[in-house]
Assembly symmetry: D3
Homo-oligomer: 195 residues x 6
């Protein structure tokens, strides 16, 4: 059971990564902040660093979606990412956001169930409604009808919450595809985090 990569973590993306010394200051600061917090730099940063303008636009949108105040908890937002990334079978995102959900959700078994298949995970009604809608958004050709929006409203999700579920699901569908074009590899550290 040997891998073709002698050093599994050596590859970040098929498009390579810039030397850290060559990075713009703001990106290097992001690297340092991650090392301080996590002990390593997630490969998504190292891969996007090749294109600093893309790095900045991605991270800014990410933060609007994941860190803005709103009706969804941080764990709920990560659960949406894990469910969608699992449907899209995204190797990097399932691993990195699976770790985040285990930690932020404080229920690693439920996090694993969602990574396996949100439909058969032991979800609360609120989470089931939320992930069912995220999965709908993830379908090709998605367009919501009034009835499903009304059903979400009736489940306690405001219009802005519905927007946020859809935006997180769809933005990480975009992110899944970027990981797919780059063959982005997960850092080895993610696998054991939060178990």
């Amino acid at each position: 059971m040997t891998s073709p990569h002698t050093d599994r973590t050596a590859r970040v993306s098929r498009f390579g990564e810039p030397r850290e010394a060559d990075l713009p200051d703001d990106i290097r600061a992001t690297y340092e902040a991650n090392r301080a917090k996590l002990g390593f730099v997630p490969n998504v940063f190292r891969a996007y660093a090749r294109r600093p303008e893309h790095f900045r636009a991605f991270m800014q949108y990410h933060d609007v979606l994941m860190k803005s105040p709103g009706g969804l908890t941080r764990a709920e937002r990560e659960a949406i990412i894990v469910a969608v990334s699992s449907e899209n079978a995204c190797q990097y995102c399932m691993t990195a956001h699976g770790a985040a959900l285990r930690i932020l959700g404080k229920d690693p078994i439920l996090a694993e169930q969602i990574a396996n298949n949100w439909q058969t995970a032991e979800l609360s009604p609120r989470w089931r409604a939320m992930l069912e809608f995220a999965s709908r958004v993830n379908e090709p050709g998605f367009a919501a009808d009034d009835a499903e929006i009304a059903a979400l409203n009736a489940n306690g999700f405001s219009d802005d919450d519905v927007w946020d579920i859809a935006a997180i699901a769809a933005f990480f569908g975009f992110s899944n595809r970027m990981a797919g074009v780059m063959d982005m590899r997960p850092n080895a550290e993610f696998y054991a985090m939060g178990r």
Copy 2:
């Protein structure tokens, strides 16, 4: 053949739009710039204005993808959007970006053929390779293998061009889904532009 909407252009998004007088200065400036250039404010701006932070993050990423220097012409970037939006059957994006492609590409018949079906459009080999890859990116569960990247390189696309094709295809797959959640309606002005 009557529509249920008495005034077809009255609806922008199912989530409504803010009063223009209440907009932050930067967003109002965008409105004014669009009126000066196009004669109207595309509904994507009016719909996103409800959430200024989302508006700004979306437009910044949009501009990185569509206006940065790079190996793809502006018309090629619009062709990617039209091809992907057609596969996703996005009413707003096919209409708005169909108009942009007709104008920027200076070949409205080819633009219409791509909106109908890029596979049977009368494409140059370069455009065929580009749109075939954009369509691959748009598939659920997309992950590129080395051979298809090498084939794109052999067709004259640099690694950054491949990144850009994928990023435009995937970002507008995200945008298609946001139009789908909002039921974003195309401005009537788009339909006749560039014919």
Copy 3:
């Protein structure tokens, strides 16, 4: 943004077309009638003229479906064709019947919306029920159950109307595939008609 075809309208079908001088009288008369009415001969006639018996059988069935008295207006019949041809992504039929729908329906914006995606077009309840059933017919393995026929009856469609919706949808699914085997190209004149 150049096309590989130096003269885009030169190609009619991959199987070529007969010389007009060699045509049987009835087919030449059809050409002349089209020139008188439209100013040109649609390529579907020029392509089918290679096989006069097929030409005649196709046109006769076409006229039964499209020109017979019945519960569906001429615009409704064209809307069925455009919706099905869009689902089948038929380059020729979307273009030729898109033009017909713009003209006969007297609402070019709605015609364009149906060509983009009938599901998110601004349809009356009658048209929505009609196109939803046409789309069902277009599915592989279609077989109607009693409930959906009853629902159409309740929407004001007689049994003969239901037959007509299905027959138009299915016959043009056949026609879409014939355009697909021939690589039938749309006449350039269609693109601007009825805008």
Copy 4:
């Protein structure tokens, strides 16, 4: 193992059938010709007789496709219908044309294999190429590329043969859907014919 229909052959189509005494002369003559040849009137005639203009257009096109001189044998044409009708799971067409193929092909075991799954039937290379293309035509969104037409030509199929394969496959895809809208029931006589 009882059927809900007390008299299985009593139902022809959900839309009923006209009284034979009320039929136009040409359709009654068709009934009589079928009784003379087969001993019964296939339900497709009885179902279409409700709409005489449709009856005539259908039968005329049928005869052009199935009885015209050409490169395909009568058994080959029936094999295309059986393969496509099986993919579309059409109850009436599998039964009626399954019987025809058993008789005309003089190999009832091969006929049954094609009805089950043409891909694993014990086909000659010519029949395999022919049914593979018929199956391609049957796909939604079918459009042939030059390479597959050239491959068929290399297998001994002329352009008119390719046209005929596609036309038979697509026309009976239309016919399958008409059987689906009518819930057309097979005559009991077909099941044992040619075994």
Copy 5:
């Protein structure tokens, strides 16, 4: 209409079969029991005989599913196999179990209808509920929800009956795939049995 196999019944499986003289006693006894009952040895036995441990495990599970006492009749169990094998287009299983259903069900026309398409077969409500659930089980990613189990219970199926429907459907989905890897060919005798 000739087959590439000069002797159609000569091939049993692409992996061949052992010489009968070399078989273990219990497997030879099975051969003899089949010859006594049917007049021939079904190819599934001859193909599995290559791997005696697999032969025994397969036949033991088969007998538990098909011959144990329970709420489903023997004909109902065969109907499940035929419906699932038809969805999976399994050449061997449609032929061998089609024959079994024609004989055990004592209604060869209904058996043929189920082989063609259970959805449009003339089924009793009990059989329709049973085959609808078998078809659900056959879907990739199947997981039942409480509502569909309750609906089956309400239709008179006990929990053990539901288990049996699912187990038969899923086990023969396994068997269909084994026939697919072996290219298992049906014995010629099956085709005419029970007509």
Copy 6:
């Protein structure tokens, strides 16, 4: 992030489980053997114990597939199960066999990658060929052609190895569906094993 089940491990299957005191001796012995080896009784045993004949047939076939001598290592057999169970999104099997693969394969990161998506896991060429074929077997309507069997032979897999890959993939497709009908829940112990 609360689960609707107050005691997550309390539910084994929607069909319940027998009291251990009521079990036949051989099944109770299996429980005890599992407690001795793992410290708990996997829920698959507790769920199947409701039907002792099914329990025995399942376990016997399981042992033939997983414990017989042959060309595939025990880890390779588990990798096939994990890959197929992931494609079928089987909550129980991904969890239980994921744990087995982490332990037997001695490479928990690779095990997790296969559970996420075998296609983007860092596989050796042998494992890639093996899992690609297992995934083919898992497709509805699978039938192998000679070329893919020859390619596996050329990769060092004997005919019996090919049989084993197919049998394991297809048998656990059956097992996935049985877990789906039972709503079989994974034991909590599995999640942390072998990390």
